[in-house]
Structure formats: C-alpha cells, structure tokens
C-alpha cells in the first residue's frame, strides 16, 4: 500500500509538474517561444537534412536496383577512378572487343548471362519528330537478364537479330513518347525510325524506368551490337555485362579476370588493364557521401541543440528565481526536494520537447519545399520524428537539471521570505 501511495504521489506530482509547465508556457508565450527557438531551429535543420538524405537513399536504392545486383560490368573504364593519373591510365587501356566477348562467352562457365554493350549518343528521327541525344546501346538478347529493364510492348532483341545483323530496335519509353506522341506503345511496333542516317524498325518498347543518379534511363534505344558495329563504328570499346549466381559472384569475378588477362595478354606482374564494375561500388561510394552528410547533420544538430539547451537553462534559472516563494510554499505544504526537482525537470523537458515538435514540423515543411523546388526527394521515417522530439526532451532534461537542482536545494524558510 505504501509503495502504491508513493507511486501515485510521484505520478500526481509529475502531472502537476506538467500542468504547471503548461500554465507557465501559456502565461509567458513570447518568452517560451524565444526560449525554444534555439531548439526549434536545431531540430528543424537536422530533420530537414535527414529527410533529404533519407529521400535520396530511398530513390537511390530504388534506382540502383535496376542496375542488376548480380552483374559485373566489365569495361576499360572504371566507374570510380581514383588518383590524378587515373583518367589517362584508363584512356590508354586497350579497347575491349569481339575477341574478349567471344572468350568470355566461351569460357565463363559460371556466367548466367553475358551481354555486350557498345554505347554512343545518337539523334533519332521519325518524319518531323526528333529525339536528340539518345543513349544508343548495341547489345544482344541477354541484355535484359543482366539488368537492362523489362519490355513493355513487343519483344526484345532476339539471337537472330544479332546473328543476321538486322536493323531492329527496342526503344525506351521517353524515345517512344518523343517520336510517336499520342500513340500507345503497342501501336509503335513495326514502325520505322532513323538512327542517325540508318533506318531501323521498332520491335519493342521498354517499360518506363525513371532516373538513375539524374540520368534518364528511358531516353535510350537498343539495337543488335552487330548492327551497331556496322553502322556506328566498329572501333568502339565494348562493355560486357556478365551476370552470375548471387552466391558465387566472386568466383565468377575471378574467372572473368583470368579469361580477360589471358586473352589480352596481360603479363603476370602487371595490373589488370580492364575493370570489373559492380553495382555495390555505387552503394559504397554513395554511403560514404551520405555518411559524411549525416555527420554534418549530426554536428549541426549537436551545436544548435547545445545552444538551445543553454537557452533553456537560462530561462529555467530565471523561472526558479521568479518562483522562489512558490517553491517555499510548496515545500511548506509538504513537497520534497525531489518533488521540486521533478517539477522543474518536467517543465524544462516539456518546453524542449514542444520546441522539438515545432522544429520537426518546420523541418518536414522545409524538406517538402526543397523536394518541390529541386529534384531531391524527401521522406522521413517515424523514427526520425521520434528521435527529434525525444532528443529535444533529453536536452531539456540535461540543461534543466542544474536549475532544477538549485530549486530543490532552496531552504524553505529563505524561499518563503524571498521578495
């Protein structure tokens, strides 16, 4: 019974503290507002930054998935080159060509799909309609399996298209829109278009894919690589997309490296003169980037929360001084030191938490504004909101503890006599 009474007393005292806090907040609106401003700004900044980072993450992860998680992109170019001389070194590497493709096709037993990718920019035309700067990819039927997307209408390139060097093309959704405005993808099939000066026939339209790192994935056109090499230059370096089972991707990597080193006659003491690019390299680089952004957000948040906390401490000291007599009265009526401590802690954390809530709301608003005004997306998880408010309350608790302790230490006789 005694424990129950004590629990009830502490609950009642906490509620009483919350009520006092609410009354003081309302009684001194302007002061409360100014007090919490530091917290509001801090939380707003952090929430906005986190919202944008999380938005980026979400869209990035969605985009990166389209690259094909189990695919090695073999190229003379590295996606992430490092060092000053890297570009020249890459530039001077031997091109990859049909020889490498055939060797990999013949010997890479662990590969589940192998697609060459010869790439260039091309202008596409139909009558008066134009689609400039389209990413033209010369490839084969296995391109889809390596992560090239899915077909929305018609079919993809077939083995025979490659073998017979047919002038067939599969076009991206944006290209279809530009060249055949108002037509459904199905209605485009069989139509002719010009790639540069060469006529091609549309056999398929790709499903819309959206953007990858600001790159439009729908402004492309796929043709048989044999046709590509014939019409758009046979000297171009090929890229190879090589897919494998998720479990033995590294074995596949070793196999491909071994094949290419042999075919390209790389002496044992020399480094590879080609690169196996992986989707996860994107993720790694990206995570490094967002990691530093998080660190910045954390630093900014910490500093502003400390500033906000000092504001709260300041106002709580004023509040304790103003209410010294009230503290004396409460002590006379039977409030313990811990009661007074609790009362002021509840007050400072409520003030801070309200500041945190306002800051969170403003931060979300700011993130939405940024999302509308720029290509950045913004999403916020419930945990970020809870963290913002919870962290603010914790700041209130920490910075309110010294004034609260001072209030609790007051001598009741002195406090009652205070003018």
């Amino acid at each position: 019974m005694k424990a129950l009474a004590a629990a009830r007393r502490i609950l009642a005292e906490t509620l009483e503290g919350a009520q006092i806090a609410a009354e003081n907040l309302v009684a001194a609106r302007l002061r409360s507002f100014l007090t919490t401003l530091g917290i509001v700004i801090g939380v707003m900044t952090v929430i906005a930054i986190v919202a944008i980072i999380q938005g980026l993450n979400k869209s990035f992860e969605g985009q990166i998935a389209t690259l094909g998680a189990h695919t090695l992109y073999v190229s003379k170019w590295a996606w992430f080159a490092e060092g000053r001389d890297a570009w020249w070194e890459l530039r001077n590497r031997k091109d990859l060509g049909a020889k490498e493709l055939q060797a990999v096709e013949r010997e890479a037993t662990l590969a589940t799909a192998i697609a060459p990718m010869a790439m260039t920019q091309a202008d596409l035309k139909r009558d008066t309609f134009e689609a400039p700067n389209v990413q033209l990819i010369g490839t084969n039927a296995q391109y889809l399996t390596t992560g090239g997307g899915t077909v929305g209408a018609g079919r993809f390139l077939a083995e025979t298209d490659v073998e017979l060097t047919r002038s067939t093309a599969v076009i991206g959704a944006d290209v279809a829109d530009r060249l055949f405005p108002g037509l459904q993808p199905g209605q485009v099939l069989g139509r002719k278009l010009m790639i540069g000066e060469v006529p091609f026939q549309v056999v398929g339209v790709m499903e819309r894919r959206g953007q990858l790192l600001g790159m439009n994935m729908d402004a492309n056109a796929m043709v048989p690589y044999t046709a590509f090499l014939r019409h758009f230059g046979g000297k171009r370096s090929l890229n190879l997309a090589v897919s494998g089972e998720p479990d033995n991707l590294s074995a596949l990597e070793d196999q491909v490296v071994e094949i290419l080193r042999r075919v390209r006659r790389v002496p044992p003491e020399k480094k590879d003169d080609f690169t196996l690019n992986r989707q996860e390299q994107f993720l790694r680089t990206y995570n490094q980037l967002t990691g530093s952004l998080y660190a910045v957000a954390f630093g900014v948040g910490l500093i502003t929360l400390i500033v906000g906390g000092i504001g709260i401490m300041n106002i709580m000291i004023v509040s304790v001084t103003e209410r010294t007599r009230e503290i004396g009265v409460r002590r006379a009526l039977g409030a313990r030191r811990t009661t007074i401590l609790l009362q002021f802690l509840v007050e400072s954390s409520i003030v801070a938490a309200i500041g945190g809530a306002i800051g969170t709301a403003l931060g979300l608003g700011l993130a939405q504004v940024v999302a509308l005004a720029s290509p950045l997306a913004a999403t916020v998880s419930a945990s970020a909101v809870a963290l913002g408010i919870g962290f603010s309350a914790a700041v209130g608790l920490v910075f309110g503890s010294w004034p609260a302790w001072r209030a609790a230490r007051l001598d009741p006789v002195e406090a009652l006599r205070h003018e």
Partner: protein
C-alpha cells in the same frame, strides 16, 4: 485525530543560533513550553523577539540548534529533509500573512495541492478540497483564481488549504496582517469557530489585541519566553512582568 487534552507539542530548552558575520545570534535561547491538543495559543512578541524563528521550528521548516521539539509524540530532531516534508504535509497547516496562494491555480487547485504531495487519488482530493472550502464558506468560489477573490476570500482559501489534510495544528503567521480590520475580524471569528470545533491553532502575531482574543498567549523577547498565560493577561502585561512559564 486523537482526543482533546493530549499533549501535542513539547518544547524543551530550545535553542536556535545563527552565525551572521562571525557573530552568533541567539534567535531562540532556551525556550520551553507545551501545547495540548485543541488549544488556541498566540505567540506574541516584537520583531526580533524570535517568534518567526520559533514558528519556523514549530512548522518543521527549520531545525533547532539544540533542545528537543516533540510533535505529536515524535522527536523532530534528526529527521531527514524528506521526513520533515512529510511531517509538514501531515501535521501542520500553514496560514501566511500574504496568503501565498499559487496565482495560476484555482481555489480548488490550491486547496488540493497538499493532497497531491500526499498521494491522495484525484477524485478523493477533489472531494476533500470541496469539503474544506465549504468549511470556510467558499462553496461558490471553487473555480476562481486568487486574483478574482477578495483579500478575505484569499485568506479563507489559504485556511481551507491548511485544513484540507486534517493536520494536528494550524500554524498562522500574522493571518490578519494584510487585511482591513473588518475582514481581519472575520478571519479571527473563523479561527475561533475552528477552535471550537476542536482544531489546535498557533497564531503568531505582534498585535496585542489579537493575542488578547486567544485563550492563551506566549510572549517572547530576545529569544526567551517572558510570559505565558491567558491571552488577555499576556497581551496586557507588556514586557515588564513575566508570568512563570
């Protein structure tokens, strides 16, 4: 509450010394007296006589330097701060000169406050507070804030707050000091009524007229009891001829 007549307060050679600027001030210098349950006692004396210090000690807001103070059979000496707080909450009802109500709380809220610190459930708190306010004639002012009440009404709220926890005694410090004489008279009549209902009341005052109204008065001077007897006698005696305590 126990029966009238049992000793409630026993004070023996109570000392309370302060050190101010290296000099020892003997605010209480060997004070002894007893108060039985149901008494209405005035503690009189000029400012500096030690009556405020005595009130603080009797109110368990302050602890004596030496001597014993037994309240309701319990020795106050050596109690922890929390125990003192709990003792104040249960045994003592304070009434202050300046009322000391919380400005933002209603009459009801003010009166309920001591019960919050006792852990009384809310519904019961409310019922007890309403009852206490009814006892001081403020049934129709439950939801008024202090600034919506007259001085006399505020002091009644304060008295209701002192009464609500059914303490062993009311400790009133110059309760009429901030009131006009008509209102002060009203409050004194209320105390008189409470006295007749069996409450123990200690009234600290410097007004001889007020002390004369009490059945008993104790006069302090320079930290000593210089007179203890019938209120009218002590009030009229002045400071020259102490009645043995």
């Amino acid at each position: 509450m126990s029966a009238v007549g049992e000793p409630l307060i026993v004070v023996e050679s109570l000392h309370r010394h302060y050190t101010v600027g290296g000099e020892v001030v003997r605010a209480l210098d060997g004070v002894s007296f007893g108060i039985t349950r149901g008494e209405w006692v005035a503690i009189v004396g000029q400012s500096g006589s030690g009556k405020s210090t005595l009130m603080n000690v009797l109110g368990c807001l302050d602890t004596p330097t030496s001597g014993t103070y037994r309240l309701n059979g319990a020795d106050v000496q050596g109690l922890t701060d929390d125990q003192l707080a709990s003792l104040r909450n249960k045994e003592i009802g304070f009434v202050f000169q300046t009322f000391q109500l919380l400005p933002r709380a209603t009459a009801l809220g003010n009166v309920m406050l001591p019960l919050v610190y006792r852990g009384v459930p809310k519904r019961q708190r409310r019922a007890m507070a309403e009852e206490a306010l009814a006892a001081v004639g403020l049934t129709n002012r439950l939801n008024h804030r202090p600034n919506e009440l007259s001085g006399g009404q505020r002091q009644r709220v304060a008295i209701a707050r002192a009464l609500v926890g059914q303490p062993s005694m009311l400790l009133a410090d110059e309760p009429t000091g901030n009131l006009d004489s008509a209102t002060g008279e009203e409050i004194i009549r209320l105390f008189s009524e409470l006295h007749h209902r069996g409450h123990t009341i200690l009234l600290v005052t410097h007004e001889p007229k007020l002390a004369a109204r009490c059945p008993r008065a104790i006069r302090l001077m320079d930290g000593h009891v210089v007179a203890d007897g019938a209120g009218a006698a002590v009030a009229g005696l002045g400071t020259s001829a102490p009645v043995p305590a």
